[in-house]
Structure formats: C-alpha cells, structure tokens
C-alpha cells in the first residue's frame, strides 16, 4: 500500500468516525440520565433524511443549504426523540421495545415522505454537500499537519469539540451532576428535590439532537442521497462505541475513531497485501464483528449508569 493511500485512509476514517462519535455522545447523555436509547439508529435516519431533503430543496437558492440542512437535521432528531422520551418517561414503556419501534417507524416514515415529496423511494441526489477543508497554518505543521489538518472533513472537528463540551457538561456542571444522579439512583435524586423526569427528558432530547445531527453529517459526507440503507447499522455501532468507551466522552472519541477506521479498512483492504485475499463481505462484517468482540471483553466489567433502563417509579420508596 502506498504512503499516499495510507494518508488518504486517515481522513476517510475520521469521516466515518464523526457520526459514530456524535451519536455515541448522544447515547451518553441519554443513558447517563437513566434512559436506554436504542432508537439512535432511527433518529439518525430522521436526521439524514431531513438533511438530504432540505439540501436538495434549498441548494438552488443558497450556498448554505447543507449547513441549514444539518441544523434542520438536529432539530428533526430532537423532535423525533420526544416520542421515545414520552413513551419511556411518562408512560413507563419498556425502553428497548420503544426504541425498536421507533427504529421501524423512522424507516417507514422517511421513505414514505420521500415518496410524497420526491415520488420515489429515496431523496433526489443533492449537488451540494459538505466539502473537505484545509486549515491554514495548522496544515503546515510537519506530518501532523498533513494527517489532521489537510483536506479533512470539518465534521471531525465538530465531533472533537462536542467531546470536550460533553465532558465539561457532564462532569463539571450542576446539570451534569444532577443528571448523573438520576442515572445512578433516581430515588436519591428525587429525595434531594431533583425533577427526575425533567432531567431524563433533557438527556433523551439531547441524544435526539446529537443523533439527528450525526445522521445529517453522515449523509452529507459519505453519500449522495438518502436511501433506506443510508445508516445501515451505524446507530448500533455508536451504542457499541459507548459501551466500549465506558460511557466516558474521551473513551467514546477513541472507540469511535477505531470503528471509523475499521469501516475505512473495508475500502482499502484490496490495496493491502495481507488483507486483499479476504472476500469483500468480510470487511463489511468487520465493524460488527469487532463490536461483538469489544462487548465480550468489556461487558463483564460494565460500568454503565446503575439505574439505566430501569423504569423509575416515583411511588416506590
């Protein structure tokens, strides 16, 4: 494999990693507040559909169409996640079933709307998307400049910034302390006067915002239109990334990059002597296999929020 091809793998890895990291951060907020959210996949679909649709509809009138699309995607994700919040918090639904239902729903709803708007089972191809950038000055740094600041999708920087922001909010602020209490011991939090339901709504809605944004990023960087297969399990890989990263923002950054890398590998395998002998399907499988292995290694020492997934009954003492 040539050095250039290797260099090319870095931005490609980061391109794939960004939506994983951002979605996983969303999952972090939700689970730290005590709500398991496996609807991240579905929320990403809603986000990517929104981003693609808005971009297509606006690209003839403004050069900012993709960015507006991203903003719309984040909002759409937030709105969609209200369903999960309502079902899980107000109606005390089983969170895994609710999440699964929302995944099915988003799959149907997005393509349904494609048919209504575009009269086909996918959006139209968009012409504008998120372009790669080269950061002035920083790209002149020897080696690092070439790797991380030349011709990189800016979405990766967004992901890194969000990681730092998440760490700060969760561990340094009052909001973060209270949210974590809701995820570890909601009875204790309630006895201190914290509104557990409100905190959990915040957690879920933030996860919706982030997953929607990530879905938008994903379609605008890795694809040319939104189809039923645009997300293909990335939401679930994000959950694995969260577990693998031990529900810690910096852990998520690391594991997200790792999964992004393994996805990129499937494209470059044929250029690497040892790997080119393996069938292409093996590389498609790779992220999912890695996830399983990661879960086996780390699930035993699970350090997730203690009360995540349990239905909070305010009548219980």
């Amino acid at each position: 494999m040539t050095f250039n091809a290797f260099l090319e793998m870095i931005p490609i890895s980061m391109m794939f990693a960004s939506p994983i990291i951002i979605t996983a951060l969303g999952g972090l907020f939700s689970e730290r507040s005590g709500i398991v959210n496996i609807a991240l996949e579905g929320i990403m679909m809603v986000g990517s559909f929104t981003a693609a649709t808005v971009t297509v509809l606006l690209e003839s009138t403004t050069p900012f169409a993709p960015w507006i699309g991203l903003a719309a995607a984040a909002v759409a994700g937030l709105v969609y996640s209200i369903l999960h919040a309502f079902a899980s918090i107000n109606l005390k639904a089983n969170q895994t079933i609710s999440g699964t239902a929302l995944n099915i729903l988003s799959s149907g709803l997005t393509i349904y709307l494609c048919q209504i708007i575009f009269h086909q089972q996918r959006t139209k191809v968009f012409q504008m998307s998120i372009q790669r950038v080269t950061v002035p000055y920083l790209s002149d740094i020897p080696l690092l400049g070439k790797l991380f600041f030349t011709s990189i999708y800016p979405t990766f920087y967004v992901a890194v910034v969000l990681v730092v922001v998440t760490w700060f909010v969760v561990y340094k602020t009052r909001f973060g302390l209270r949210m974590r209490a809701c995820g570890e011991n909601p009875q204790a939090a309630a006895s201190m006067g914290i509104n557990v339901a409100k905190m959990r709504y915040a957690g879920v809605l933030i996860s919706g915002l982030l997953a929607g944004l990530a879905g938008g990023i994903m379609v605008l960087t890795t694809d040319i239109q939104f189809t039923q297969n645009s997300i293909h399990g990335t939401g679930f890989i994000a959950i694995a990334s969260l577990v693998f990263g031990k529900w810690n923002p910096y852990g998520v950054l690391g594991t997200g990059i790792f999964f992004g890398f393994s996805t990129a590998l499937s494209f470059y395998a044929k250029d690497i002597p040892v790997l080119s002998a393996a069938p292409i399907e093996f590389f498609y499988m790779l992220p999912y296999l890695m996830t399983i292995i990661a879960l086996v290694i780390f699930a035993g020492k699970s350090v997730g929020p203690k009360a995540a997934g349990e239905i909070y009954d305010s009548g219980k003492r």
């Binding site: 340094k172 302390l177 011991n185 204790a188 201190m192 006067g193 203690k306 003492r317």
Partner: protein
Amino acid sequence: MAYIVEMLNITKDFPGIRANDNVTLQVEERSIHALLGENGAGKSTLMSILFGLYHPEEGVIKIRGKEVHIEDPNVATKLGIGMVHQHFKLVHNFTVTQNIILGMEPHQGPIVDVHAAEKKVEELSKLYGFAVDPRAKIEDISVGMQQRVEILKMLYRDAEILIFDEPTAVLTPQEIEELMQIMRRLVKEGKTILLISHKLKEIKEVADVCTVLRRGKLVKTVRVANTSEEEMAQMMVGREVNFHVQKAPAKPDEVFLQVENLNVKNTKGVLGTKNLSFELHGGEILGICGIDGNGQTELVQAITGLTKVESGRILLHGKDITHYSIKERTDAGIGHIPEDRQLHGLVLDFNLDENLVIHNYYKPPFAHSGILNKKAIRVNAERLIKEFDIRSGQGPSTPARAMSGGNQQKAILAREIDRSPDVFIVVQPTRGLDVGAVEYIHKRIIAERDKGKAILLVSLELDEIMDLSDRIAVIFSGEIVGTVDAKATNENELGLMMSGSLRKDGQQPHTSTARRNA
C-alpha cells in the same frame, strides 16, 4: 406548650387500606419524639407525609404554629424538615460531598464549586463531631459512616426537624451508642428529632416522648420516663405480649452438619469467611448471630452450594458435600429458607402451586418423561395450603406476587418442611412480618427441632436469636468468635462479641478491628 410540629387528624389511604386513621401528633421543640408501632402501623407513612412524599386525604399540618401544605420534599426542606431514610438514598459512586450538596450545589455560574462544597462539609462535620472524609466515595465507607452522610445532608440544608426512620437496623451496638450521642448533641444544638422505631430498648434510652400507633390509629402518647417497656409493648400490639416463645429443652443428637476451616470469597473478591468451623447437631437450633456483612451470607451460600468454596470442608452426616451441586445438596437433605424471599425463595410470577414444586417439578408424580402433570401439582398445593394455613386469594393458582409477605414466607416454609430435610438453614425467617406471622413461624421451627432436625438459624434480630436458639455462635469478621449456651448469655455479651471486642474462643480480640471505620 409550643409545639414545633403538629399533625392534626391525619388520614391517609392507599388502595385497599387506611394507613393513617385520624392520627394526631404533637411534637415539642428540642425533644426526641419516638413513633412506636409494629410493621404496618403507619409510622413510616405518617412521617412520609411530613416530608412531602405523600399527601394526606384529610388533616392539617402546622409547623411552628402556622398551617402549611407540604407538596414535596423541596417544600419540606424549606420548612426545615429533613429525613434520614431507612434505605439510604445515596449515589454509590459519588463522593460524600457530592451526595450532600446534590440539588443545592455551591456554584460559579453553571460550574460546581467543589472547593467551597468540601469546605462547608468539613465545617459541619466538625461542628457535630462526625469525622467524615468529604472526598471518600460512598461505596467505600462503612454503613455507620453512610448514615452520617445522610444526617449531614439534612444539616447542610439547615434542617431543624430531623426524622430518623429505623436508624439502628444496620448498626453495631457501638455505632448505635454513637448515634444516640449524636442525637442528644443535635438536640442540644437546638434540633428536634422524630424517631421511628419498633425497638423498645432504644426508645427507652433516648426518647422523651413516645407516640404509639397500631393498625393506622393512634393509641396513646406517653412520657417515656414514666412508662415501662411492658406497657409500651402492650400498647403496640394490643395484647399481653409473650416476649419469649415456649419451648421444651433441646435434646441434641449426633452431629448432622460439620463445617471445617471454611474459606469463602465474597462478591468483592475478599475472603468473607476465614477458617470458619462449627458443628450442628440434630435436634438443636444453633443461632448464628452477628452484624450484617460479617460473613453470614457467604457461610450460608457456601453450605447451600450457591458459592464455591476456596478451601475447607462441609460434611453432611459425615459425607463430604463441599463440591456437590445445589441440586445434589437439596437431594442429600439440606433445606433452605433464604434471606430474601422475593429474590431467592419464590418466582413471583409463578403461581403458588408452581412455586411449591420448584425443587421437584421434574420428578414423579409432578412430571413423567419431561411432561408436567398439572393435576398432581395442584393437588399437592391444596394439601400444603391446608396444612400450613397459607392464605391465598385464588388457592393454588394464586400468583405469588399477589400474596402477602407473611403468606409468601409460609409457602416457602411449607415447601421446605414438606421435603423433610435433615438440616435446615433458616435465614432471617421473620423479616418484615407482623407479630402473628412471627409467632407461627417460630412455632414451626421449634416443631422441626423437636422432630430431631438440625436447624441453623441466621438472623440479624438479636431477640429472635436469643429466643429460639439452644446454642449461639457469634460471627465477626468471618470467624466464629465464640459459641455460648443461649440460656447462659445476655445481650451485652453478645453485642461485645458481635463487634469484635470480646472473644470466647481463646484468642485475643484485635482492638484495631474492634472499631469499624468511625
């Protein structure tokens, strides 16, 4: 008389039951006021209303003479009311400080000011003589220390009225003494204390006034100094209480169960029992007494087969069963009434009849070649229901979940006794049960002893141990520190052994371990 708290004509209903029926409570300022009653008397409910967790159907609450409506714990806190719950409400992986300030954090904008918080906690701790480490994690400190964190939570919020819900259930005798001193000191500093308890001795020792509740109604409010324990007990249960169960003297047989040098690890990977040895004879009740967490759980789990043994032997009728599976042990003659009946003893979502055959469901007559015989299972249940007077709404097909605690325990007892095991491991058999159920279960345990069975009784209730046992072995820090004749010992001696200050096995007590991390 200036009452700081008045709860007047309080009535509170839950579905199917009137938990508080026209109860009036008046608390003097700077006093320790006890609430005495059995399980289900309504004391916790009344205090939960005061703390804003429940709303009364009828009645008026006055704080310092002014009528108030306590909507939720926030309102209660603002009124200066704080509650130390029986089951601590602490976040296990937060620090002491984080738990105390949660919900009322000192802050710079959105950021928590950790430094200021720790300082305030240290100050409060010094003022009341608590000696807590603000940076310690809850999961690393002792139970007594955790309770102090709960108290500090209230003091941090300038609570004037402190409610303690059964605070001594989890403490060593020494820690209980320390808590009493803390309570007296709090009163000296101007606080008022409400103490929920069913322990007459403690009320006698520390309370000024006592309100007795029974089945949701107020019985009487008395001055503790002028009332005897017997009088209070009678008010509590409404009849002459037989403090001691009647039993014939034991006729011990040969050794049924022998435990030799048992070493078992606990869930944290540390040794829970250390070279523990004892003998259990047929026809006797051996009581294992000790504070929760000193190795009883590991001992029981090792004998019943739930946990693997690191080293040591367990012999049943001379046969080495140390490595037998659970099923093999049950078949060999070990019966077990588990500590947590709802977690281990029953499958709550099964019916009563299914639960009653949970050990034998695969054997004839309950099954043939893998197919269940539902009729035989039902008939078996009907028989046991009759013999043990198990109250169940729908007979054999009652879901276990719908049965009361006492009847659930009777079901477990029925199942185990019916199998007629030679060795009975009975753990906390009467926890959470009312006096009637307790009496019945104690009677049946003694009956099994009189049939010649060997009973190992593990209980955290000292009274129960002293009442039922023929011999008492005290467990402390994973070892048996002394075995005494039940008739020849008293509470003080047992308490000292339970906290490691006294040993009757020929060894010196380790004075450093005699005090838990205080």
